[in-house]
Symmetry: C2
Subunit: 728 residues, 2 copies
């Protein structure tokens, strides 16, 4: 059901991570091959149980074995809040992006101690600091349960379809984890219902921060350079997974490559792309283009202006809002790119033509016509309903009024209702398999700032009134005769929910304790819950269930006409893509695929966001400026892949995904092999910086072994055209 | 050429005034009849030399005579900065909207004296305060010069076409005004080139503020209620035109109606609708939808968020930014409505179908085909170029970097170049006929606030970098190694242009003095001028001239196939529309057409923007709550009509246009007679408030004569359904 939410909730966690993958006006975006027949050379976010080994072999004379795939799968990590990562040592070290741990670094900071600005390195083991809200997952097993799920909903529709499907999913998830909180099981809907798989993960919730550089270098170039290349960012960070208060004794991890990757090298990326929409019907894409994305773009733009100026209130205001502003700007740029892809007339009309071709094929076969032929019109009808109810649904159920405290209050209020129901009947987010993560977030001691809560909430109430009109009963219920700002102040003043103990008490007290609570935020959550739920029910019963049921049929029609040698749309589950290090054409020139650390010094102006941090300026003479810094490769990735390792055919780390180029943004709807590029930090730069800028020897030892030579990452020279290439 | 600029410059003055007229999702927007054959009953913004008298007679048994039309024309006023008004006394009194004099009221305010919040009334004649930037125009004469203009460009294209057309226009304007600053002459392009008319105005530049109520009642309901109805706004103000330092002895003015207008009454609206796009080709509309409007919406949304939060800096910050925030919010809401109209698939595909029908008719006639047949494809090619160069053009030439001081600097720098050229060769805005207004604004002593200048300019520089990328040569030229905020601060600190004397010295000193100036803002204007001009030239030569030339052909094709009994798109020149006071259907119910002053008290919550001002609360017992307050009528209006009088068949004032309802917003592209309504202040409420709330007897005497009865406006009662109707 991901497709419904993308546009509503660009600030949700996984999209708040780097969204990558629409094209720049003017360039031509090739069609996703899947819509016509089979995937192109480098295209595809493949599942581990349907990896096109042969295709890789044909293109690169290397065929990954099953053992290779198992090792890679078990060495890959998911950050449950929306990112990817990799296990990179026997001692539980996990590599990911700085922007994936940004929130943790902010949460470990305080008014006097700004770790975002200054960076963090645990010189001793005991200095490693627990991230209050990070959960790491490792994928243990995939089981195909398509028949079971499809059987459960056979002949049903509307609410009955939805209820039955959710119940069957909840049942299988519960059976799979068998009450073990350390096992996380999730039913994954692939190909929009063409397949259902059960994914079983190991869950780790004691995850500690080991190293994070200064934001100034992690995000050098800031929003202006975001989604661009050439690039000079050390967007990397290291976490460590603990078990029983000790570093994890870890069998499955990636080794560090001793050879610097260079132009033309084969690259695999393993990670968790969040969402693509390459298999949607055109009526759903029109909804995205004309309603959902448009709404998000306008909301995010306004919020961005608001936050930019909020930052000027004070140094502390700047500190506490920086992460939120980053996520807004990042989402905004990504969604703009996606929107541009859908506004491309040529691209869109090809999507329409492909759909017509598929429907013609279906209609030409009486059996197919009977089975699948009506699906598109049914989806269109549901999307028409969605257009009608979208605004109310978004303004109520899909709205947390900008407030973490309200989010907490709503979780508590709903837990009172939901947890007393059998697992199968609960709202999906309260299912047993999701409870540990829900509790981790609910009982997190991360700081919450009154000033920011009030500002965001006042803004959100104003937008609520604007969306629904001042005379809408829901708006009157929420605002009464209050001005938005006054209401926000009263709510924040009148709540105890900043206290984790207060949350625990209400959570344990259940429905009765909650009903009696005089907490202002709890009371608001109680006040709006019936309306919010009823809008959700209407959406789920009249839109979601119809789209789900008929998307299954469209998927089956595609399998029937085009075969199954395809990859599903992204679902924030583990995928693997292959490609190579390669530049791309831009404004008539080829952009070389690698940059050097020296390039960062050349781009340094001294003014934010082009100011290198003091540590880099100080170490300028010590580092090898020829060290490759960032590179681009043809891997097919998207938001959620942030923190993914880039590995070579020996399954060794050669880079760390942190972005896509501007041409990759249309990747949500189709892959353009000529210009869509993934952007990574080169493994050599990570080591060079850890060793010669940060003196982070503990991390280097973990990565390379204590006796590693100091020469890794020091063998780059400039080629004649000024691009960096490695000599090996 | 208006059509090119609308989307670039929603903050330009005329659009900053109330933009009125797209539809709410769900309702059906009828097609502008013009595209098919002849205008529908109430549709049309008619020119005074092509008014459909017969049609009015058929519908309302009243045929306006030529004398009636002359009187109405001469009693109508244009506010040259983007609004309409009416002469309403023999002593030069001019009625318009509060939001049309908002800027003047702000300019006459200061840190200790907030006239926006407190309102203004000149108790004595000598208290009337000159508005530094208001120019009033009265339309004296219209001459058809179509043949002359079309002859001048015959056989030309591209730059030659443009140069020849501009030269012929400048020549005729100069001849017409004959060096008299008090006469303003303008060539008006009607039907996108189907007709060219010369409009000759009397120009008044000594215009003083007489009365303006508090913003709290002028804009009661604020942005949430904007473009909505029912409504309760006293959006009115009175100015007085002076000549030789004395109130104007005025022969032509509207009398005040002694009868309260009621449901069903015939209404005429005379005023200056700014711009409609009902006659554009579909490729131009697509540009608006997918590029121009989208860009404006995103920019305005961000600016709105920024300004909302800027307001919280301090009471003074709130005061100095309030007008700008209003204009941003107003434009945003209006443009959203327009965008929604274009996103309506049914509406848009009808536009496409109509264009195809017209082209088929043209192609079926060999002569027409030869003359007009190629025009649409030529326009499409030019619009394709526009898509390519749009961003650079907007970011350079159509950009004042958010700064009034930069605007002044650029005007000075360009005047150095332009004023030494012959009139015919100048940029249009430096033509002799426009110079008096240009000088009035350039030498205005209206306050400029450093804090606001810096904030807006820093924001604008950030957007410039974002639009063009940090590596664009123009961006590097402007920013150098500076952060946007530092550059903005240095510019504002380094300029003397807040001083009118400094401006005058440079203006008089001309090119040499300007080149030698060390003023930071002048230097920036010099630095960017060549690039800005060359982007403008490219736009004018490759886009504008091609569109102009071929739009003439499309217009001729329409005249040939559909006749000339039509009205042209709006051009901020005097038009007259007719209609009646009538409610409209909304969410399945009919909205009654009138509200009462009592309704404002019912809607009062005490919290901004639903808080009545103290003067109203104090006078509650004194006023007749049954007095009709606001009403809606079927008149076809749009932004620029703000301040237009609503008159009856005796040419007496019965109301004051100040808004359109939400359904009117699609009026830019087509008129929907079922739901598009103009919103006015009722004449009775104006008198009731002046007399019994503000004690503004001088104004009442001017309007009604010193011996007028106190009963005008006191004869309303509620009908049974709760709507207000008048008993007469």
């Amino acid at each position: 059901m991901g497709q419904f939410f993308s546009c509503f909730a660009p600030l949700e966690k996984w999209t708040a991570a780097k969204l990558t993958g629409a094209k720049r006006a003017g360039s031509v975006l090739l069609l996703p091959a899947l819509l016509s027949s089979v995937a192109l050379a480098e295209e595809g976010m493949w599942t581990f149980n349907n990896f096109p080994k042969e295709r890789v072999k044909r293109a690169y004379q290397f065929e990954p074995s099953d053992a290779w795939l198992d090792k890679v799968r078990l060495s890959s990590a998911r950050l449950a809040n929306g990112c990817s990562g990799s296990f990179v040592s026997s001692t539980g070290l996990v590599m990911t992006n700085h922007h994936c741990v940004n929130e943790c670094v902010e949460q470990l900071s305080s008014a006097g101690k700004d770790l975002i600005a200054k960076g963090f390195y645990a010189e001793k083991a005991r200095d490693e600091k627990k991230c209050p809200e990070i959960e790491v997952n490792r994928l243990l097993e995939i089981t195909d349960i398509t028949t079971v799920v499809q059987q459960a909903t056979k002949g049903l529709q509307g609410q009955a379809f939805n209820d039955a499907q959710k119940a069957s999913m909840a049942r299988m998830e519960q059976e799979c984890s068998a009450g073990n909180d350390k096992v996380r099981c999730e039913v994954v809907t692939l190909y929009h219902g063409g397949k259902y798989n059960l994914y079983k993960y190991q869950r780790y919730q004691d995850v500690r921060l080991v190293f994070a550089p200064e934001l100034a270098i992690a995000f050098f170039g800031g929003d202006p350079d975001n989604f661009n290349f050439p690039r000079y960012d050390l967007d990397s960070a290291f976490l460590r997974v603990y078990e029983n208060n000790e570093p994890l004794k870890n069998k499955h991890f990636f080794s560090w490559s001793k050879q610097n990757a260079k132009e033309g090298d084969l690259t695999f990326v393993t990670g968790h792309p969040g969402r693509t929409s390459r298999l949607l019907t055109t009526v759903e894409l029109e909804f995205d283009r004309d309603v959902g994305l448009l709404r998000s773009l306008l909301k995010l733009s306004e919020l961005r202006g608001f936050l930019t100026e909020f930052q000027k209130r004070s140094a502390e205001a700047k500190r506490i809002s920086a992460g939120h502003l980053f996520s807004v700007e990042n989402s905004l740029k990504a969604l703009k790119g996606r929107h541009q892809a859908l506004l491309d007339k040529k691209f869109f009309s090809q999507m329409v033509a492909n759909e017509q071709k598929l429907r013609a094929k279906v209609n030409a076969n009486p059996q197919w016509k009977k089975e699948f032929g009506g699906a598109w019109d049914e989806i269109a009808k549901a999307v028409a309903v969605q257009r009608d109810i979208f605004k109310e649904y978004a303004a109520t159920e899909r709205n947390t009024y900008g407030s973490k405290l309200f989010e907490i209050a709503r979780t508590i209020v709903r837990s009172g209702d939901e947890l007393s129901k059998p697992n199968e009947k609960r709202l999906r987010e309260f299912g047993e398999s999701r409870l540990p993560q829900l509790k981790q977030e609910l009982f997190s001691d991360a700081p919450i700032y009154d000033e920011f809560e009030v500002a965001l909430m006042a803004h959100a109430f104003t937008k609520l009134r604007e969306d629904l009109s001042p005379d809408h009963p829901f708006v009157k219920k929420v605002l009464g005769k209050n001005a938005p700002m006054d209401l926000a102040k009263n709510l924040v003043k009148g709540t105890q929910l900043k206290s984790v103990k207060a949350r625990e008490a209400l959570f344990k007290g259940g429905k009765d304790a909650i009903a009696k609570s005089s907490d202002a935020m709890i009371q608001l959550a109680l006040l709006v819950d019936a309306d919010s739920r009823s809008n959700r029910e209407r959406f789920e019963n009249e839109v979601e269930s119809v789209v789900k049921k008929n998307s299954e049929l469209v998927a089956k029609a595609k399998f029937a006409t085009e075969g199954t040698d395809t990859y599903p749309d992204a679902t924030f589950t583990l995928r693997i893509s292959y490609g190579k290090i390669q530049g791309f054409p831009d404004s008539g020139k080829m952009v070389p695929p690698l940059t050097t650390m020296g390039g960062a010094f050349a781009r340094h102006t001294g003014a934010d966001p082009f100011a290198l941090p003091p540590s880099w300026l100080k170490a300028e003479a010590k580092i090898n400026k020829e060290t490759p810094f960032n590179f681009v490769s043809t891997n097919d990735i998207i938001g959620g892949n942030s923190g993914s390792p880039v590995i070579n055919k020996n399954a060794e780390i050669i880079g760390l995904i942190f972005d896509g180029n501007i041409h990759s943004l249309g990747g949500a709807y189709g892959f353009d092999p000529t210009a869509n590029r993934a952007v990574s930090v080169h493994s050599a730069a990570i080591v060079e910086a850890l060793r010669n800028i940060y003196g982070a020897q503990r991390v280097v030892d973990d990565l390379l072994g204590a006796n590693a030579t100091g020469e890794i990452g020091r063998t780059m020279t400039h080629s004649e055209d000024g691009s960096a290439t490695s000599k090996q």
